[in-house]
């Protein structure tokens, strides 16, 4: 257990970085999602793995029983998962729309917002 989680994090981060470095729009978005999964696992593991009992206090008690899981990272990771999912959806729609408009899924084709080419030390005059 203690080895599987770090390995899973490493695998997710490695795969995520590899995909994000691609020039394909969809791979980039998916890469960020996989990278996000790795980070979420890291966040989850930050509360220490091991104790498995549900973090529920008995009536009248003022502290968790020994052996209870840490509830805080679960709340944090839930927040991060929701945000990450929303961003993934947005990113996929954006990539699809962009690929449709640019008729290419290659990031190198995204030139519409680059500075205009020019001669020597000056950029070209923009079109009216």
């Amino acid at each position: 257990m203690s080895l599987i989680v770090p390995l899973a994090i490493a695998l997710c981060v490695a795969a995520g970085v590899y995909l994000t470095l691609s020039r394909d729009l969809f791979r980039m978005v998916l890469g960020l999602a996989v990278l996000g999964s790795g980070v979420n696992l890291l966040l989850f593991a930050s509360g220490r793995l091991g104790p498995l009992a549900p973090p529920i206090m008995e009536a009248g008690a003022d502290a968790l029983a020994a052996g209870a899981a840490n509830p805080l990272p679960q709340a944090l990771v839930l927040t991060a998962i929701v945000i990450g999912f929303a961003l993934l959806c947005f990113g996929l729609v954006l990539a699809a729309r962009l690929a449709n408009m640019a008729r290419s899924e290659d990031a190198d084709a995204l030139r519409a917002t680059e500075p205009p080419g020019g001669e020597g030390h000056k950029p070209a005059v923009l079109e009216p």
Partner: protein, 487 residues
Amino acid sequence: MNLILAPLLLPLFTALVCALLAGRPAWQTRISLAGAAANPLFGLLLLERAASGEVQHLVLGGWPAPFGIAFAADGLGVALAVVAALLGLAVLVHQAGAAEPAAPSPGLHPLVHLLLAGVGGAFMTADLFNLYVWFELMLMAALGLLVAGGERRHLEAAFKYFVLNVLGTLLLLAAVALIHGATGHLNFAALAEAARRPELAGVLPGYLGLLALALLLKSAAFPLYAWLPATYHSLPAPILALFGGLLTKVGVYALLRLFGQVFAGVAEAPVQLLGWIALATMVSGVLGAAYHWDLRRILAFHIVSQIGYLLLGIALMSPAGAAATLYFTAHNILAKAGLFLIAGIVWRLAGHHDLRRVGGLYAARPGLALLFLLAAFSLVGVPPTSGFWGKFLLVRESFGQGQFLWGGVALAVGVLTLYSMAKIWLEAFWKPHPDGREMAAPVPGLAPAYAAVMILGAATLGMGLWPEPFIAFAQSATAGFGTGGRP
């Protein structure tokens, strides 16, 4: 009554009401403006209490600190929240005019207010994870505003912004997770205590380096600023002013809060590095601006350059350096946004963003030329504008610490900034219009745009002519920063 949450709840509430009024644009605009006007007023109420040195606290959920989600209103956070609220008002007033406003869309006003809520929340929070959440809220609202134009260039800009900024927030989240794992805390006050435990001295500097990397990406520092000049120029003028004024400054604020206060003195080496990053940011930003002839691109590169000054104040790691950064940030938000709003008016009057296709504005609109000169001098740092005092505080503290190279480069970059502003003055205002465009006739609908520029111009002039209360406030708000003072 506890008003700590006003800087985030009021924009959030306004955004909600505006979203519900999506089918009634006239009412949506009215509610949006009313919310934006009320926001600085609530901020001033908070400021009054923060000015007396009182730090208001609020812990949500009834949990005792450090377990509940804490908010704190101290001088630093409140001052920036007021400036952000003022900018929000100016931007929405400008949007009501005819100077290159964003195309009307039902989502525009809700998204602007959501962005302001994210900024206000980031300034008010006293919790590391909560800070990440506000960054995400800002990111989502910003993405919505970026794609609002719907043309290919907007989507391309949004995609580049999306990839690099999501990477930034993931780095931030990873740093938050590692720091939480090491210290067991997220609350700023508890983190400040825990970070000084000697057994953490081995791991914490590495985690803090990751945190700094994420925040430097968010604040567009060298060499991580590529996303900014690639995207900002695709935005319409008021939204561009909002982005250029606020978003990167929140990253700077987080750096100042975390490295100047919470983790001050924990990691020395990264702070030295920050000084050199600041210099590289200043120089590369201003050189980028010198190359371009598109007004929006010039000003976007100047954002990067000015971020360098703010980082320099943090890197000096002293109360005076932190006070200079606070004063400079407030000044920079106002002056920079004012220039972007003026760029919108220039576009409306002279018909283009490229400086080689415009001209003649000094003869046709001397008032506008005066407003531009005020904002441009403020950016350069000519007295009696606010920029002079910001640079004065910063350079004096650099020299005082014996960092003559840092202070010297800050002064030299000011000269290059002057070159850039002089280029805009000569091309857009001084030379005749290349097409002989007739600009004497009054252009309808520009009054709100002028009003917005004047709000910001008056603020920067006021900060410059009566600097003492502002500087005294900045110094009291950042007392103990950089020297291991506890939040």
